[in-house]
């Protein structure tokens, strides 16, 4: 078991490294010039050339890659000053340094930018997963319990709409109704205080959650319909247990196993940022950051967001694997 876990962890690190490397080279062979993007479309060539040198973009790609990988994780003095030429852009863990360089556009350490954005993205990802899980399980349960009735058809139909509707449409409608017309929630933003953060997260979390919930509803419904016919559920019924207990304790528990995989993967994917939702609601997370960085050819930020996203997905996969082992004893063998 431990050997298997170690092997999985080594693979996870390799996947993140491969993703990072591939992204680095793709980013560097794209037909565009980050120095021009920094300087602006009307900058004079001599100024662009100067900026290119300052950013180190005049060096061969392999040399840039070598420097990037050397700097990514290294050792240095604890708590370096931001003005330190060598280590000013590093995030530190004692003497262990992580350095993604400085954003071409913002001229700030990428680790600082990610440090600001990641918690906000994690907050949104968790809230969205919570919404979609609660909503999806509840509606799936109702649909399965009322199988082949009007309620079931309505729930399944609604879930189809939820899956089919683009996120930005769901977001725009929610924003219009709940924020613009009813003024129940803020239109956008992140807020300044905890209560404002909570109010601000509702719309983006609902927007993401409705899409996920629609998908979960169908899965939970189908799994429950399968589970309810199983022997141990029939036994529970024969023992005279109340219906709600049969559904909740004996059927739902089995039905949730495939959902765990989905929740894990969704959480991992959301760590990379929900681009459309974050942009629509001006949620200051990684999604909006990564799309801006891509458009601006801000290489260091692109690399930072890719590392976070790939690490998020890989970590989520690992957790799903391990949780499987906890949920299903057969996997442990």
């Amino acid at each position: 078991m431990i050997r298997r876990a170690l092997r999985r962890i080594v693979w996870a690190v390799l996947v993140v490294w491969a993703t990072t490397t591939i992204t680095f080279f793709i980013n560097n062979v794209l037909p565009s010039d980050p120095a021009r993007m920094v300087a602006g479309p009307q900058a004079r060539p001599r100024d662009i050339e100067r900026i290119r040198k300052q950013l180190g973009l005049d060096r061969p790609v392999l040399e840039q890659y070598g420097r990037f990988m050397r700097r990514l994780v290294h050792f240095g003095p604890p708590n370096p000053s931001p003005k330190d030429a060598e280590h000013g852009t590093c995030a530190t863990l004692g003497r262990l340094h992580f350095d993604l360089g400085k954003s071409y556009q913002q001229r700030r350490p990428v680790t600082t930018i990610l440090g600001e954005r990641l918690p906000r993205t994690l907050m949104l990802a968790l809230a969205a997963v919570l919404v979609q899980t609660l909503l999806g399980v509840l509606t799936g349960l109702i649909a399965a319990a009322k199988r082949n009735t009007a309620i079931d058809h309505l729930t399944v139909g609604a879930s189809l709409v939820g899956i089919s509707a683009p996120t930005f449409i769901i977001g725009l409608v929610l924003q219009f109704v709940l924020a613009h017309r009813l003024r129940l929630l803020p239109l956008d933003g992140f807020g300044e205080t905890t209560s404002q953060h909570v109010a601000a997260i509702v719309l983006p979390a609902l927007t993401l959650g409705i899409y996920g919930a629609a998908y979960y509803t169908r899965i939970v419904r189908d799994e429950l319909i399968g589970a309810i016919k199983m022997d141990h559920v029939r036994t529970a019924r024969a023992k005279g247990l109340p219906a709600w207990r049969v559904w909740m304790k004996h059927a739902l528990r089995n039905a949730l196993v495939p959902l765990v995989t989905l929740i894990g993967l969704d959480l991992g994917a959301l760590v990379g940022g929900a681009i459309v939702t974050e942009t629509l609601f001006r949620w200051p997370g990684l999604g909006a950051l990564s799309v801006t960085a891509l458009l601006d050819r801000d290489g260091p930020v692109v690399m930072g967001t890719v590392i976070i996203s790939s690490a998020g997905i890989v970590l989520a996969n690992l957790l799903v694997d391990f949780s499987y082992a906890l949920l299903d004893p057969r996997v442990r063998r």
Partner: protein, 566 residues
């Protein structure tokens, strides 16, 4: 047919759902004061974001709006674009035009409370023009004596910038330069606090000497500026605070304007622009920002078929600028020459480019590629790749251009690329034969519309701002003369001649000048149209009624349902 009807109904329903069908709500009332009132917070927003608040490195117009409030210059522009003193009480130019002397006001201060001396102005200039500063426009100032030595690190200081007393700064040029003063009045060399030091540093907290100072900046979200009480103009500025919200969806911007959470909206969508312009309650509350710019088609004179001047002339004559204007009527002003009216391009008898289909066909014949519109035969035999980036207007104008040029036998193959790729393709030698191009004034002087884009010195193998790779010794000579000439009437004649050469040789086919439309609530007073600064709010004051709740009340569930069902 049924499917089209269904889709149209769905679209209308969607538009109605999002409030597109409704007229805008009535504007919020003003108190009716005639004289400016002090106090209040102005709330503005943009769909874009700012990247740096250091005037030495900022390069985009949106950042410029905030920098104009935070950093004052020795000189600035009035609404018409003329140079006026600001932190300097006066300035003078030597007889030969090679020395400018600025006399600073008494009792002027930086936001950190320290007095502004001539020494600070010199330090700021040297900081901004130092070769290690990642600024984009240092070459505006290459006529300052000693610039090359300083840029090549052969000198520690700029020899041409001399402190002649605590309040006197002299700037010596190596030759007369009529563009120096307008370039100097831009934001790049505006004095920065002593905390900025002698050299550019990314970690510096922006601090200047403008009418507003930085309160907080949450990157990507909000910028808050507060009134600087030691500003040299007594009683100004009027506002207590200005808050910019960035990265805001344009639909949200409109919602916030309507509910009173924003005071102006300058990024209306096209349908919303029409809604507000057609509403009599809002019509008088709208205004245009016209910062001189030129937009057109750039034709690479080194690549076929545009190495043939007759083909270029045919394109310039084939383009129907009025049709292009119809793509976005509120924003596009047809353009027929390089110089826009505010920069002297106002002569109705000027030999400008114009739409003349018969002449276009004649130019094609002279080029050796006659085209017969009746049979569709003839013209240039190969398709011409035409790159555009994903920007609404370009994607539409490309299709219209494709149709217009097809009528003279030129077939465009539209290639949609990203903006960085577009920049690379159009600025690299021998890569693109034709592409849409635009240029917005860096500083208000006709030279800025010739030297950086049409002269031989602007040609580069990479990053060439002269994307047409057009070279004409006569034009080069005129531009050099125009830059040195200090007499306004003589300069006008020089640039008129330069403009006529460009119109005739047609490295660009001119199309339109862009303008921005915005609306504001009635209580926002003192908005001024500047020829240089977009969204100019330095002198704004708020005329809000005290007793009235300025935020519009929610509509309630019933009214919302009613709106949805309508």
């Amino acid at each position: 047919m049924r499917s089209i009807r269904k889709r149209t109904s769905a679209l209308v329903a969607c538009a109605a759902l999002l409030g597109c069908q409704e007229p805008p709500p009535s504007p919020l009332p003003a108190a009716g004061n005639a004289a400016p009132v002090r106090g209040g917070e102005l709330r503005l927003a943009s769909a874009f974001d700012i990247k740096s608040l250091d005037p030495a490195v900022a390069s985009d117009a949106l950042t410029g709006e905030a920098i104009e409030l935070m950093f004052a210059g020795l000189v600035d522009f009035d609404d018409a674009g003329h140079i006026v003193p600001d932190l300097a009480e006066r300035f003078e130019r030597s007889e030969d035009g090679t020395t400018y002397r600025f006399f600073l006001r008494d009792n002027i201060f930086f936001h950190d409370g320290s007095p502004i001396r001539a020494e600070d102005c010199k330090r700021t200039i040297e900081r901004a023009l130092h070769p290690d500063t990642p600024g984009s426009f240092s070459l505006f100032y290459d006529r300052i004596a000693g610039f090359e030595d300083y840029q090549n690190k052969k000198a520690d200081h700029l020899a041409g910038v001399v402190v002649e007393g605590e309040r006197v700064l002299a700037i010596h040029l190596r030759e007369p330069d009529a563009t120096f003063l307008p370039a100097f009045a831009m934001q790049i060399l505006r004095p920065v606090c002593p905390s900025a030091g002698d050299r550019y540093d990314d970690t510096w907290t922006p601090c200047g000497a403008g009418p507003f100072k930085l309160e907080s900046w949450d990157r990507g979200r909000t910028l808050r500026l507060v009134r600087f009480d030691k500003w040299w103009q007594p009683g100004k500025p009027y506002l207590d605070r200005i808050t910019y919200s960035y990265s805001m969806n344009i639909v949200t911007e409109r919602y916030k304007l309507e509910t009173g959470d924003l005071d102006t909206d300058r990024e209306l969508s096209l349908p919303d622009t029409f809604r507000y312009q057609n509403d009599p309650r809002w019509k008088l509350l709208g205004e245009y920002d016209v910062i001189p710019s030129i937009n057109g088609e750039e034709m690479n004179v080194e690549m076929a078929p545009f190495d043939n001047v007759e083909i270029r002339r045919a394109v310039a004559a084939a383009i129907d600028r009025d049709q292009i204007r119809m793509l976005k009527t509120p924003s596009l002003i047809p353009l027929y020459r390089v110089l826009v009216p505010s920069l002297g391009g106002d002569d109705p008898n000027f030999p400008a480019q114009k739409h003349d289909y018969a002449a276009a066909l004649e130019h094609m014949r002279r080029a050796g590629f006659p085209y017969d519109p009746a049979t569709g035969k003839g013209g240039w035999p190969k398709p011409i790749t035409y790159p555009v980036y994903k920007q609404g207007l370009y994607e539409l104008s490309a299709q219209l251009l494709q149709q217009q040029l097809a009528k003279i036998g030129l077939r465009l193959e539209i290639k949609v690329v990203s903006f960085p790729t577009y920049l690379m393709m159009t600025k690299r030698r021998g890569t693109t034969a034709m592409a849409p191009a635009g240029w917005q004034q860096d500083y208000p002087d006709p030279n800025d519309f010739f030297e950086p884009i049409f002269t031989t010195s602007a040609i580069n193998d990479e990053d060439s701002n002269n994307g047409a790779f057009y070279s004409n010794p006569r034009l080069d000579d005129l531009v050099v003369r125009g830059r040195r000439e200090l007499d306004a009437a003589k300069r006008k004649a020089i640039y008129d001649e330069a403009d006529a050469i460009v119109c005739s040789d047609a490295p660009w086919a001119m199309e339109y000048q862009y303008r921005y439309y915005g609306v504001h609530q009635p209580y926002v007073k003192g908005l001024r149209q500047s020829a240089v600064w977009p969204n100019y709010v330095r002198d704004v004051w708020l005329d809000k009624p005290r007793a009235l709740a300025m935020r519009r009340a929610p509509r309630g569930i019933l009214a919302t349902l009613e709106g949805l069902l309508r």
